[in-house]
């Protein structure tokens, strides 16, 4: 009835791309249409099951679902195993191994090349460092010698200065007493020295003035 009415909007549910003219298209009742007169006051009898039957049904379904779950899991595992051991997998493994070997070979060659370059570089570096070390050693030796000479000079200088030994002490005392050193002096802006504590400038004539010699 609903399929043949042309004016209504047909509520077709599952439409097939492949047209089949022998079958009647399944169409649901239009949504706005009212309830049929034979069905308005219909009260469907609710199916009542006894409790033990319900329990039995539940038990059966629970067991079934449990076993189906485990079976599905088992099939999945089997498929994985099969995938690993099958022909395609073996060929794949073989190809992978070949590829691996090729790459390892390539890597080895590359390593050798870089090793050669590295060897040369290291040789040159070794030479350089050797030369540097030698140069520094020579310099150090030279410096040591210089140092020694300097020390010797210094020692000789020190030794040559007239130290007062135990033998010379009496003579030295007598000499010191005989020649007292007067540190008192004054300087002029013109560069003349006036020695002695109590000398006045007026007493000395201009010619006898000492000139300050900076030793």
């Amino acid at each position: 009835m609903f399929g043949s009415s042309g004016s209504r909007v047909l509520n077709v549910i599952n439409i097939s791309y492949i047209q089949s003219r022998s079958k009647r298209v399944w169409v649901r009742k239009p949504l706005g249409s009212p309830m049929a007169k034979s069905k308005i006051f219909r009260i469907t009898p609710k199916p009542v099951l006894p409790e033990d039957e319900k329990a039995e049904i539940k038990r059966l379904f629970d067991n079934y679902k449990n076993s189906m779950k485990s079976i599905r899991h088992y099939f999945f595992e089997q498929s994985l195993k099969q995938a690993e051991s099958g022909e395609v997998a073996q060929m794949k493994h073989r190809l992978e191994d070949q590829e691996h070997e090729r790459l390892m070979e390539e890597n080895r060659l590359e390593n050798e090349k870089t090793a050669m370059l590295r060897e040369e570089r290291l040789k040159i570096q070794a030479e350089k460092t050797q030369q540097n070390v030698l140069a520094s050693l020579i310099k150090k030796e030279g410096e040591a010698k210089l140092h020694e000479i300097q020390i010797e000079d210094f020692l000789t200088k020190q030794m040559s200065t007239p130290f007062i030994q135990a033998e010379n002490i009496e003579k030295a005392i007598e000499d010191a007493l005989a020649n007292p050193v007067n540190f008192n002096f004054a300087l002029d802006l013109n560069g003349y020295v006036y020695r002695g504590k109590d000398t006045s400038i007026d007493t000395i004539p201009e010619e006898k003035r000492e000139r300050l010699n900076s030793n």
């Binding site: 439409i15 076993s67 089997q78 498929s79």
Partner: protein, 134 residues
């Protein structure tokens, strides 16, 4: 014409189902046991046919069922669901455990008297069952 769900490019996966596809003629059903996408029609595109089921009993009072267990196992491993009739058939064949519906139907048939049939059971090599409901 509106395109089928499986023909549209979707980013979500559409689940696959093993179910009965009605072929045959009027008043003479013949089912193909088939792997399809859930969204497709019963007469729509089929991924693989995995068996058949003849609902009409033959000369020897047998309902013939064909099942490709290897392929069914493969599709179950790939996550295909089963419709109830197919699950029942697989349970009866011994591939899977018996579906609860078979057991429930069995005890219901034992309880109630069989309903009247227009077509009589054909007498042949296999004796007609006491309860034609089965």
């Amino acid at each position: 014409m509106i395109i089928m769900a499986s023909a549209l490019p979707t980013f979500t996966k559409i689940a696959k189902v093993i179910r009965l596809n009605r072929h045959g003629c009027t008043n003479r059903p013949f089912y193909h046991i088939v792997v399809q996408k859930t969204k497709d029609n019963q007469d729509g595109p089929v991924i693989e046919q995995v068996g058949s089921f003849d609902a009409m009993p033959n000369n020897k009072n047998e309902k013939l069922v064909a099942l490709n267990f290897e392929r069914i196992q493969y599709w179950l491993s790939q996550g295909a669901k089963l419709s109830d009739p197919v699950a029942q058939l697989l349970g009866l064949s011994g591939f899977l455990p018996n579906h609860p519906r078979t057991i429930i139907q069995a005890w219901k048939n034992r309880r109630e008297p069989p309903r009247e049939r227009k077509i009589e059971a054909i007498k042949g090599i296999a004796p007609p069952l006491d309860n034609p409901k089965l």
